[in-house]
Amino acid sequence: MERSSRVVQITAHIVLGLTTVFVLFPYAWMLVTSIKPIADVIAWPIRWLPRSITLENYAAILNDSRFVRALFNSAVVSIAVTALSLLLSVPAAYGLTRLVRRGGRPVLIGILASQFFPPMVFFVPFYIVLQSLGLLNTLPGLIFTYLSVTLPICTWMVATSLRDIPVAIEEAARIDGCGDVRMIWTIIRPIAAPGIVTAGIFAFVLSWQEYIFALLYTTSERAQTAPVLMFYLLGQHQIDYARLMAAAVLLSIPIAIPFAVIQRFYKSGMTEGGIKG
């Protein structure tokens, strides 16, 4: 028994060690490539470790005004989608779980079910609607399309976290004459914080990395987001992979930081409503 459980431990660590290599190698290679001088990037057989380290690839991409513009657009879209998603989903989750006596749950399930449509269903209608409203190639147009994905899941995540919070505090506050709006701000917001933060990060990460809608609805540089710009950089004749890897590293940072902070909550949120991400 003692020996066989040691065998299990060692096997498990080997499996997870290999998984760690599988998971982290693409990132490690991305990072190494991004700090290589160009001569080392195109060397064959490959120089695994560069002879010297350079930041010229980062300088090159950050001096590209299109890239900076795209980063800015991505930031605006992501922050706006996150704010709007929370502004709409937190009161709705509160109303449906705490105020509606019967029928709140079916409505919530209906809201979650609306994320079930495959994105292809929206390609044409969004295009026609945005075009007729003059919102093609604009950030507000893109923000609108992202809400179709973030709202159902954010509402579900917040509602789920509210389910686990006892109503006693709210009842006490209610007796003291606390209204609904103040209730959401002073009572619900702090105690449901893990769920709200998780929902917010979900919305942010999704908008930061979304690619298909951005490709369809923001063809001009004015509204192009960073993922779309990456696609255009790939379409050039001479693909500069070192520069692309530097861009990829920079684009990963805004996802890596919040993820590192809330890694724990995110996992439970992911298994709750995770058809889209």
């Binding site: 299990v8 431990q9 096997t11 498990a12 499996v15 997870l16 998984t19 599988f22 998971v23 982290l24 693409p26 990132y27 290679w29 195109i42 064959w44 057989p45 490959i46 709409l88 009161p91 709705a92 509160y94 109303g95 449906l96 705490r98 105020l99 509606v100 006596r101 019967r102 029928g103 809201i111 609306s114 079930f116 495959p118 994105p119 292809m120 269903v121 929206f122 044409v124 209608p125 179709s148 709202l151 159902p152 509402t155 609904d180 930061w208 990395q209 298909i212 696609f231 790939l234 992979y241 692309l244 990829a248 990963s252 996802i255 993820f259 890694q263 995110y266 996992k267 995770g274 991400g277």
Partner: protein, 293 residues
């Protein structure tokens, strides 16, 4: 009193419902309607054509190519993700140390940007400068570089591998959560009864894990049906249409040929296909989950 708070509840939910109606429900219905019209770009007008879009679609070789490519793509993704996800979940469940570290690492691909995954794998797979070929050649496993994305069979496999990297965490964490729900006494009892580890896995763990496995398979199926970012970026659907999955095909009908009506029809068919799969899943998997409770 009750009615009043219910009214307030719906009032708080109404902004969300209005936006959802405008951003999800109405566009989906509009799309379903468009499937029966044809857009005339010259006159900028729509013409009702009945089921013509559907009959034209089903008569196209490219549609059936996309159909089979998608089936292969979905099956390959499920198989690979389930194999890796199960191994990782069992290992995570077994380790006595470093579990938090490993589960954080496993989550990394899931939050990775799809475009970055595509770009980095393009670089890993690069036929002349790719590190994957370099590694395999140094290990003596191949004697000349493999063209990962240039031959039809290989390209499909390479994309499935990259997509699995991105999505196995969802399967692994779903299965791991299921494993944690299996009572330890049950496993101990089976060991006392003389079952070896494989028998315990086969007769105790897998049957009890069936609901989680079903959920994981459904999630990775839906994801695989919807995902075409990798094929659009890495291969553009080629070579010879070998990676032109349904999503990419619909994208091309809509925005290369500008046949909006037919794209709407194709997306409607895809939606119905996913709906049927899900309903069948709910019928098959739900009794199992009740039994497990």
């Amino acid at each position: 009193m009750i009615a009043r708070s219910t009214v307030r509840g719906y009032a708080f939910a109404s902004p969300l419902m209005i936006v959802l109606a405008a951003a999800v429900i109405l566009p989906a219905l509009y799309n379903a309607g468009l499937a029966f019209f044809k857009y005339d770009a010259v006159r900028d007008a729509w013409r009702f054509t009945g089921a013509t879009n559907f009959t034209h679609l089903l008569a196209q070789d490219r549609f059936w190519n996309a159909f089979w490519v998608t089936l292969l793509w979905v099956a390959g993704n499920i198989a690979l993700q389930l194999a890796i996800g199960m191994a990782v979940a069992l290992a995570l469940n077994a380790v006595a140390s470093l579990r938090a570290f490993y589960s954080a690492v496993v989550m990394v691909p899931w939050v990775s940007s799809f475009v970055i995954v595509a770009v980095v794998f393009l670089w890993l797979y690069h036929p002349d400068l790719g590190v994957l070929n370099d590694m395999l050649m140094r290990l003596g496993l191949i004697d000349r570089p493999i063209a990962w994305l240039a031959s039809p069979g290989m390209a499909q496999f390479s994309l499935i591998l990259a997509n699995t990297w991105k999505f196995f965490p969802l399967v692994a964490i779903t299965l791991f959560t299921g494993l944690q729900g299996i009572p330890r006494e049950l496993l101990q009892a089976s060991t006392i009864d003389g079952a070896n580890r494989l028998e315990t896995l086969r007769y105790i763990i897998i049957p009890l894990l069936a609901p989680s496995i079903a959920t994981a398979v459904l999630l990775s199926t839906i994801w695989a049906f919807n995902a075409f970012t990798l094929s659009i970026i890495m291969t553009g659907g080629g070579p010879l249409g070998a990676t032109e999955v349904m999503g990419l095909y619909i994208y091309k009908i809509a925005f290369d040929s500008f046949d909006f009506g037919m794209a709407a029809a194709a997306s409607l068919l895809l939606f119905v296909a996913i709906l049927i799969i899900t309903v069948v899943y709910l019928r098959v998997a739900d009794p199992a989950s009740e039994a497990a409770d």
